[in-house]
Symmetry: C2
Subunit: 341 residues, 2 copies
DNA sequence: TTTTCACACGAAAACGTTGTAATGACCACC
DNA sequence: GGTGGTCATTACAACGTTTTCGTGTGAAAA
């Protein structure tokens, strides 16, 4: 087990100074061509690789980006991460992923450990608990310390930083209108409790679509699901109590679960009931029938977030406070759970 | 934007030396109780946080673990990551995730960038390309440099390092036997091409189960799918050409796709045909009907891998070469796509 | 009074780099 | 024979810590 080779070793063996080696390796013309070649050859021979940590310490940059998400076992977030990764790697950055597990405390702890030198900037999506608590001091603190921050998807309006979101209201509204166009008259909504920002916004979109097309909102068709793991029961109850010919769900899980319930009850999809979900994930794609959804374009979102962060990191430190919020467009992925129009 | 506060600043303001501050902060009894309290109070006031990079450089430990996986948009890997995360955080480590995108080159590059000081050890699962190429020099090199390495799931037998796998052969064999017990007589196999190690092993399990129960393998019932994105067509062809009353797939995607095909053709599940998959992911859980699968216990795998790595990292550097391979047990998750027995 | 010792603290080196300023050698010019 | 100017190289400080090894002070022991 040969130990890592350092500049110092090369210097000693070649009988020159550390500075000479350092400069030779970076091809500084301060060093004679002769020495440069000699050093480089020797470095290559020893398989020298500069120590990232030392470099980080030296120029106070780590070339690491910290990403904090609530849950990795969640297809949408992984698509965002893969977008971040791609963009970050392109610019020579590594991605450090931390999970908040939807917990406020873990979110704070993760931020604190990362902020102390490990990374140059943050990309994050809020945990449910943080959204419910509305306590954002940790974000503000990071910003105060001059640590750039980009929020995505689950954001906090009140924090001054770059953001990238999708237009949830518009996406949901488009979806509901789409369903109406295919002939749906009574569309049920499967949403989450209101403190989940995206749930709230998508509900808003549902309401808006109905109102804009002259319909009115029937509260009995709206189901707000608290416990995502036990949504079956609540959904079954909705089937018991209300009649509808369309279901719009704010995520794919609810949509698929509802489809299963419908099939168990003998409904034909989409003839009897149409279904649409939000988030174009694997579930939607492989459900039976395949689910028509609002695609969120996670990878693009990740790329965008990474791009914004990196730009700020590399923009000569002039911290102009002109924060922007980018909106990623949604699109409808038509599949088999809705009627063709 | 207040800049990060350092020990040096505290020292200057309190008019003591850096050493004193450092010691006081770590509660060294070399320093008088009085000074200790004064320093600590002041540090707290300024919200001092030690700089991780400097500490890393000093003691040549980063407290970071590098994880390289082929694809993050793959449920199994994310469950493993969440297991790694949990275990790593418990021990005060951060997780740096890199994606190889199933590419050999990206795998090598990722390893190289991480190895130069960013992390203390690796956890990785091979990319398909690496498996096909059988070129493992980058792994060997990491090991030679004294960088501990734990491989999981897609491993290379010939590399001397700790490994954690599931018993694919046994899992597949158990699954097939389970199906036979529920009455299946002719079980088709949906597998991948052979260079994907797990596909090969699971195929082996399928064959073994058949042989052990006195049956013989009908090659026409075995489908090896190359292109995962276009599996529908190949699967449809299998339906055209062969008759069977059970389908065992080496992953959940193939299983679900096959179920859809069966339903389109009017077969009842599980009455006419039973289905089983491998990997207990969301697809299986929310498919209709819900898919009976072999659960791989990704989180446990991740925890195990992290535990092994951390143990090696913290075991006083005595590099005893006694590498172990841990086998995570599989279990069958019974759901609706198979008959009850 | 001198020696010894505990005590509280500080100076400096080290981790591996990079960049600035300094050094020395050599040559040319007046 | 100075003065100036290249040129190649090196010393050193710095990044923020930790840690080893002093060092000076005062009090107890001789």
């Amino acid at each position: 087990m040969k130990k890592k080779v350092t500049i110092k070793q090369i210097a000693r063996e070649l009988d020159v100074s550390v500075s000479t080696v350092s400069k030779a390796l970076r091809d500084s013309k301060e060093i004679s061509l002769d020495t440069r070649q000699k050093v480089q050859a020797f470095a290559k021979l020893l398989n020298y690789r500069p120590n990232n940590i030392a470099i980080s310490l030296k120029n106070r940059k780590t070339k690491n980006i910290g990403v904090i998400i609530p849950e990795i076992v969640h297809h949408f977030f992984t698509t965002v991460i893969s977008g971040i990764e791609r963009e970050a790697n392109k610019a020579g950055y590594n991605v450090i992923v931390c999970l908040s597990d939807e917990s406020f405390d873990k979110e704070v702890i993760n931020m604190e450990t990362l902020a102390n030198g490990s990374i140059d900037g943050f990309i994050l999506s809020l945990s449910k608990e943080t959204q419910a608590k509305k306590d954002f001091h940790h974000l503000q603190e990071a910003i105060n310390q001059g640590m750039p921050l980009v929020m995505f998807d689950r954001i906090a309006e009140e924090i001054p930083c770059d953001k990238v979101v999708i237009d949830d209201v518009d996406g949901a509204s488009k979806a509901v209108k789409y369903m109406m166009k295919t002939g749906c008259k009574r569309i049920a909504l499967l949403s989450t409790v209101d403190y989940v920002s995206v749930g709230k916004l998508r509900t808003e979109g549902y309401v808006r679509a109905l109102e804009e097309s002259g319909g009115k909102v029937d509260e009995s068709l709206i189901l707000k699901i608290e416990d995502i793991d036990n949504c079956e029961k609540q959904i079954a109850e909705l089937f018991d109590r209300a009649g509808f010919d369309g279901v719009f769900a704010v995520n794919e899980l609810f949509a698929v679960t509802a489809m299963k319930e419908a099939q168990k009850r003998g409904y034909k999809i989409p003839e009897d009931i149409s279904f649409m979900g939000f988030t174009d994930g694997i579930l939607s794609k492989y459900a039976f029938p395949a689910l028509t959804t609002v695609a969120q374009h996670g990878p693009e979102m990740g790329e965008m977030a990474a791009k914004m962060l990196i730009q700020r990191l590399e923009s000569d430190e002039v911290d102009d406070e002109s924060y922007v919020t980018e909106v990623i467009r949604t699109s409808i992925t038509e599949r088999e759970s809705t009627k063709s129009n």
